[in-house]
């Protein structure tokens, strides 16, 4: 077995967890794993941003806007450090699909800790790519994460091709309308899944649309807090 990032050979560390097949084998070598940065310490209970307040100022502002419907909370696992930027760039933009498996165990773990209450009836909905983008990249990174979870994944949302989201400024992104469409109604709680949480606008748009179509509650799980 070689490290998914640096390709050096990994000496298998036998542990009860992997002997019992509770966890999939680690595909990062210890040195690369060391470069991952878990979000630690106090964080906003709505958006996972590091802060000493219970709720960060951004989230407080959003609450005051009395917008109808949003996700109840977002949980992110990692910080967007330089290593993560490189990994995400290679995985998502270069299209090295395999790198996504690095996160499998950690996504499962986060789900067990924060979202196991959804296990009875929840649905996982990945944030979609537009058709064009999907053809260009060949896969949707959010779908890949969603498929790790022990819930039914349903691609309820479709996305219209807009200007490249990442090229817009923060202000533009907040002001522009929702890029999403939906054709069904739903009556189950939804866990939205995406790779990066930056302003939360994408998730808010998706959540609002789901709620307008009958969804009782929306949560979000994102790999990285930007």
């Amino acid at each position: 077995m070689n490290c998914a990032w640096c390709d050096t050979e990994i000496i298998l560390q036998l542990s009860w967890a992997n002997l019992m097949m509770l966890e999939k084998a680690e595909i990062l070598c210890p040195e690369c794993k060391f470069d991952l940065e878990w979000i630690q310490g106090n964080r906003c209970d709505r958006c996972s941003r590091n802060t000493n307040e219970k709720r960060c100022t951004d989230c407080q502002w959003w609450e005051k806007q009395k917008e109808n419907g949003s996700f109840l909370f977002n949980y992110s696992i990692f910080s967007y450090n330089p290593f993560m930027k490189e990994v995400i760039a290679k995985w998502k933009y270069r299209g090295d699909y395999y790198l996504g498996y690095i996160f499998e165990n950690y996504v499962m773990e986060a789900f067990r800790e924060k979202f196991s209450f959804l296990k009875k009836e929840g649905l996982v909905v990945p944030i979609p790519l537009s058709e064009e983008r999907l053809l260009e990249r060949g896969f949707n990174q959010a779908k890949m994460i969603a498929d790790f979870l022990p819930l039914e994944t349903k691609e309820l949302l479709t996305r219209l091709h807009g200007e490249k989201q990442s090229k817009k400024s923060r202000k533009e992104r907040i002001l522009t309308g929702s890029p999403f469409f939906i054709t069904e109604t739903i009556n189950k709680p939804v866990l939205l899944v995406d790779d990066i949480y930056t302003t939360g606008t994408t998730l808010r748009h998706a959540a609002r649309l789901l709620m307008e179509h009958g969804c009782p509650s929306v949560y979000a799980l994102t790999l990285v807090r930007g």
Partner: protein
């Protein structure tokens, strides 16, 4: 479909011939692309083939199993193999072919006097460059230039470039590291003012590879097939060229059938040395630096509790002792350490002592640098501008970069990362300018290794061959 004029076709031929392309690297609309396929102007070939127990990517030659993976395909809903090795240059997937040019070959211009450089070569440089020109004229397959660090390799290759352009042929200068491409590109464009030069490296602005004169990282040779009449490979012995099998694979494929490969090196690897001894590889030796002074000979200092010092990220006592008694305390200081962690951590223990010795006046004049450092380029520039006086570095700065006046210390010179070639290269950082042709090179160690002894012996030998008494 667009109508293609003959000038456009010539341009396309320049851009595509000798390349190995993915569909998305071919900027033609669907009907034109179809038309080109029908006329065999573009020829598809399989991208990944099966081999016994493994596969092979036909762009990069990768056969390593861990560097293939599978991806679900959103076009045909199948699951395909793709190559992880060369993915930085666009994903090669089993279900998409690679394309090569089958249309009319490009007409490269012939230049009468392309070289606008008006400097003069030293005797040693002149001899080596004459031999390179001869090798190109005679159509020799390979030629090696063994030139000591600081011999002035760049100027030496100008006549070879001139010769190639005068013949209306295509040439690529390939070097292992992007830093070096970035440094050489403006010098090359200045020396060949009228000739369009393209620089290719990971993250370079141009992805276009349609010039007659190209400077590229060795990695970028993966984009080519039967493209060049002359390829000059700089630092042929350097990582990653010597460790990554896909690089020789691609260099071999990038050259035309009748072509000349020229290797430049200061520290040839075993296989080349063996071929030189057996006289199966024609070569020229340039034992003298451009300024005519001998190479500085490293001296060794034993440090008794070196491992313990390093565990605590401390410099050995012998180092401090040397620091206070340098021959010329005006020189900048390059300190090599074996690992990234040591580079980062040991730096901090140095600031106060450097201030006490009046070597630096503020902590800003001390820094560390390594391969994963995103500010690496900027730090090297600041060191060159003398805004930084002392730099703690890994082997990342062992070659390719030139600073005029430095002393060099290697801490734990017995570490495995410092093999003979690395030690010779590192020692070669000192005494690079005519104004200060000397520089101290000190190996701090806790037991002399064979690599250290061989490095010192080989530097002595080169000086002897250069006619210096040792």
């Amino acid at each position: 479909m667009e109508i293609i004029t003959s000038t456009q076709l010539e341009d396309l031929s320049k851009g595509f011939s000798g390349r190995i392309l993915l569909r998305k690297e071919i900027p033609l609309d669907k009907p034109t692309f179809q038309h080109f396929l029908e006329h065999q102007y573009l020829i598809p070939q399989q991208s990944i083939i099966n081999k016994v127990f493994t596969h092979q990517c036909l762009r990069c030659g990768n056969e390593k199993k861990s560097l293939f993976a599978k991806i679900p395909c959103s076009i045909c809903n199948g699951i395909h193999l793709y190559c992880r090795k060369c993915i930085q240059m666009g994903r090669v997937t089993e279900c998409e072919p690679l394309y090569t040019w089958g249309g009319p070959p490009p007409n490269w211009p012939t230049y009468e006097q392309p070289c606008s450089w008006d400097g003069t070569l030293t005797q040693g440089q002149q001899q080596a460059s004459n031999h390179m020109v001869q090798a190109i004229r005679n159509g020799e397959k390979e030629y090696l230039i063994w030139a000591v660090c600081g011999a002035g390799k760049t100027e030496m290759i100008f006549p070879a470039i001139t010769e190639t352009l005068q013949q209306g042929k295509r040439i690529c200068i390939a070097t292992p590291r992007a830093d070096v491409v970035r440094e050489l590109y403006p010098r090359l464009q200045k020396a060949f003012e009228e000739v369009p030069v393209q620089a290719l490296y990971g993250g370079s602005e141009t992805k276009d590879a349609s010039a007659q004169l190209i400077i590229a990282t060795t990695h970028q040779l993966l984009r080519f097939q039967h493209a060049f009449d002359v390829i000059i490979i700089d630092e042929i012995d350097a990582f990653p060229f010597n460790k990554d099998p896909s690089l020789p694979f691609s260099a071999n494929r990038a050259k035309k059938q009748d072509s000349t490969m020229i290797y430049l090196t200061a520290t040839p690897r075993k296989d080349h040395q063996r071929r030189i001894m057996k006289q199966s590889l024609p070569h020229t030796f340039v034992p003298v630096r451009f300024h005519g002074h001998p190479l500085p000979i490293p001296t060794t200092r034993i440090c008794f509790s070196l491992k313990k010092d390093l565990d605590e990220y401390r410099f050995p006592k012998a180092f401090y002792k040397w620091l206070s008694k340098r021959e010329n305390s005006k020189r900048q200081l390059l300190i090599f350490v074996p690992t990234i962690k040591l580079a980062e951590k040991m730096k901090d223990s140095l600031a106060s002592i450097l201030k006490k010795e009046n070597i630096i006046s503020s902590e800003k004049m001390l820094t560390s640098v390594h391969a994963e450092d995103i500010d690496r380029e900027e730090k090297v520039i600041q060191f060159r501008q003398k805004k930084i006086t002392v730099m703690v570095t890994t082997t990342i700065l062992e070659r390719g970069v030139t600073f005029p006046s430095v002393d060099v210390a290697i801490i734990d010179a017995g570490h495995v990362v410092f093999d003979e070639a690395a030690l010779v290269q590192i020692a070669g950082r000192a005494g690079r300018s005519a104004d200060d042709p000397n520089g101290e090179v000190i190996f701090f160690h806790d037991g002399k290794t064979e690599a250290m002894e061989r490095a010192i012996a080989s530097i002595n030998k080169m000086n002897k061959r250069g006619g210096f008494e040792t």
